[in-house]
């Protein structure tokens, strides 16, 4: 069996993975630059990373509609992947913008941060693009390993250590289940290629137990990444301890990546078993929303609160998944994008208001912000309203589509539970606003300085949150197109 190199290279189209290549090369270049350019300030690395991300995003976007499989079918650049890649670019881009100030303040401003962020982005992109379980697995691991490091990046901070440790152990543990599931699927179908799994599964007629259980174990693995109950337990602790910008990234990028792989696996490989897994996802969605929201009601630490809220948001997205129709999946795509904007926006404000040593991160510390820094409070309000799903913000449109999908599929109760959860969630978002607007300022917020990158991040996130709430049509249509191809 000779290897036909020519034939091999015919299956390879580097354009497919060009975004990943650009980011990887950029990351490596940054590693070198970091070593060889002696500069105390690392801000320029952020701008370089941003440039790389934008380039990667642009490259990805140029592939819209082309739908190129490559590497003998282990990866593909279809609209679905491109949409998610853009989400990752947004998440990572906003993250690098808000990182510099934070890292500077916390005294851990090491240049390696940016390459790691880029690596984790590459991982996410591979998860979105992968059409082979191995690609997905490796993407997931690349993403996770970089994130483990990033979570523990603030080495001097105990919480950061703890966060890294917890994330690592639990992440590795969940990987075990994921892999076991993949093994079972492999055993049941004899292949790791998603398309072939789908073929094999379709041939079986009645779904085989082995395949079903394999799929369920894979589901638990992804559920861990998207922080769905009962695989959510790591989320609050890890989010709270990780450096704030990284928390922002973790709550958006990996969650979206998890959904990307999740959707691709389940909608392409296991649609025949939809009847089996959609009930499960139904229940998970309810639990996830409810648990996330009701615990968030009682949080004082804003990062922890946003962590629980992030669990709840995964629950909303799962509503769309349970429906598993075009509206729902497109809704997830759209929601993940808007969630990236609004959540990182909110975290950006948290970053700005934080003090050295991760202090000043309680809701109470927001007291009177609106009187001293009205613009900051206003934009935070926008993000919070969007998170709460109140029009005319992007968060509302996103939720609208997700719940609509459920209604469309006849899951009216799911939608009702969803909206009730939404209503409950309003309480804790409002609570932040209560402190910002309705309590007297105890401090002058003199230390608060909004640097240029953060301003950019806030403006971009703010404009996007509002614009996607008022004129979401274009992006919704894109999301629609994106999910139609899988």
């Amino acid at each position: 069996m000779d290897i036909n190199v020519a034939q091999l290279f015919q299956t390879i189209n580097l354009a497919t993975i060009m975004p990943e290549i650009i980011l990887s090369v950029m990351a490596m270049a940054l590693l070198l630059v970091n070593v060889f350019v002696p500069s105390k300030s690392k801000g320029y690395l952020a701008w370089l990373s941003l440039a790389g991300l934008v380039a990667a995003g642009y490259t990805a976007a140029t592939g819209w509609g082309l739908n190129i499989p490559s590497f003998s079918g282990s990866v593909v650049l279809d609209n679905f992947a491109i949409f998610f890649k853009l989400i990752f670019v947004v998440a990572a881009g906003l993250t690098v913008l808000i990182s510099d100030q934070y890292m500077e303040r916390e005294g851990c401003n090491q240049g390696e941060l940016y390459p790691l962020i880029l690596f984790t982005t590459v991982g996410m992109m591979l998860m979105a693009s992968g059409t082979d379980m191995m690609t997905i697995f490796l993407g997931l691991e690349l993403m996770s390993i970089s994130l483990y490091v990033l979570a523990g990046f603030n080495r001097a901070n105990i919480k950061s250590n703890e966060s890294g440790l917890k994330y690592f152990l639990l992440g590795a543990f969940s990987t075990g289940f994921l892999l076991y599931g993949m093994a079972l699927v492999y055993g049941a179908t004899g292949t790791t290629r998603i398309a072939k799994i789908a073929e094999a599964a379709a041939k079986m007629g009645a779904p085989d137990t082995m395949l079903l259980i394999g799929a369920l174990l894979i589901l638990t693995g992804f559920a861990f990444k998207i922080a769905a109950v009962p695989f959510h337990m790591w989320t609050p602790d890890v989010y709270e301890g990780a450096p704030t910008p990284i928390t922002a990234l973790m709550s958006t990028g990996p969650k979206a990546a998890g959904f990307a792989a999740f959707l691709r696996m389940f909608l392409v490989a296991f649609p025949v078993m939809k009847a089996d897994w959609s009930d499960l996802i139904w229940i998970m969605a309810v639990l996830t929303m409810t648990v996330g929201n009701i615990i968030a009601l009682r949080q004082d630490n804003i990062k922890r609160m946003l962590a629980y809220s992030s669990i709840a948001h995964a629950g909303y997205a799962l509503v769309g998944f349970a429906a598993a129709n075009t509206t729902g999946t497109a809704g997830i795509l759209f929601y993940m994008l808007t969630y990236a904007f609004m959540n990182i926006g909110a975290f950006a404000v948290v970053v700005v208001l934080g003090k050295q040593g991760e202090s000043n991160g309680n809701v109470q510390d927001f007291a009177g912000l609106a009187h001293k820094r009205p613009a900051l409070a206003a934009i935070m309000t926008l993000f919070l309203f969007s998170l709460a799903g109140i029009p005319p913000t992007a968060g509302f449109i996103g939720k609208f589509y997700l719940f609509s999908a459920a209604v469309q599929e006849g899951y009216v109760w799911l939608a009702i539970i969803g909206v009730l959860n939404s209503a409950a969630s309003v309480y804790y978002y409002l609570r932040v606003m209560v402190f910002m607007y309705m309590k007297p300022a105890e401090e002058e917020f003199g230390w608060v300085k909004v640097t240029a990158p953060i301003t950019l991040a806030l403006v971009v996130a703010g404009v996007a949150t509002l614009a996607l709430g008022i004129v979401p049509s274009y992006l919704l249509q894109l999301a629609e197109t994106a999910v139609k191809l899988i």
């Binding site: 523990g152 080495r155 152990l169 543990f173 093994a183 055993g187 790791t192």
Partner: protein, 100 residues
């Protein structure tokens, strides 16, 4: 060649032992070792299935899992050290600053 099921059973046993270890041990490094044990169990499943199916994809997968395991070990142990530097302990019970 031994019956495939036996291999799968052994793998399941090892996987379960690994799970028990993760759930019952306190030392983070031991917990990590147990996770490695779980991964190895999966590896065995893969290889056995690969052999049964007569296709090498599973073994390639194992190769990647090993790579990942190595990478995880590197990062994980670095995290342990970092944690230890601050807490003078490697007990996972001591990772309890953040809760509720």
């Amino acid at each position: 060649m031994e019956n495939l099921t036996n291999y799968l059973l052994v793998s399941a046993v090892l996987f379960s032992i690994g799970t028990i270890g993760v759930l019952t041990r306190k030392n983070a490094i031991v917990v990590f070792m147990c996770i490695e044990l779980m991964l190895n169990a999966v590896n065995l499943t893969f290889v056995a299935l690969s052999r049964h199916l007569g296709n090498l994809d599973g073994q390639v997968f194992v190769f990647f899992i090993m790579t990942v395991a190595a990478a995880e070990a590197a990062v994980g142990l670095a995290l342990f050290i970092s944690f230890f530097n601050n807490r003078e302990s490697i007990d996972i019970d001591d990772a309890n600053l953040m809760k509720w």
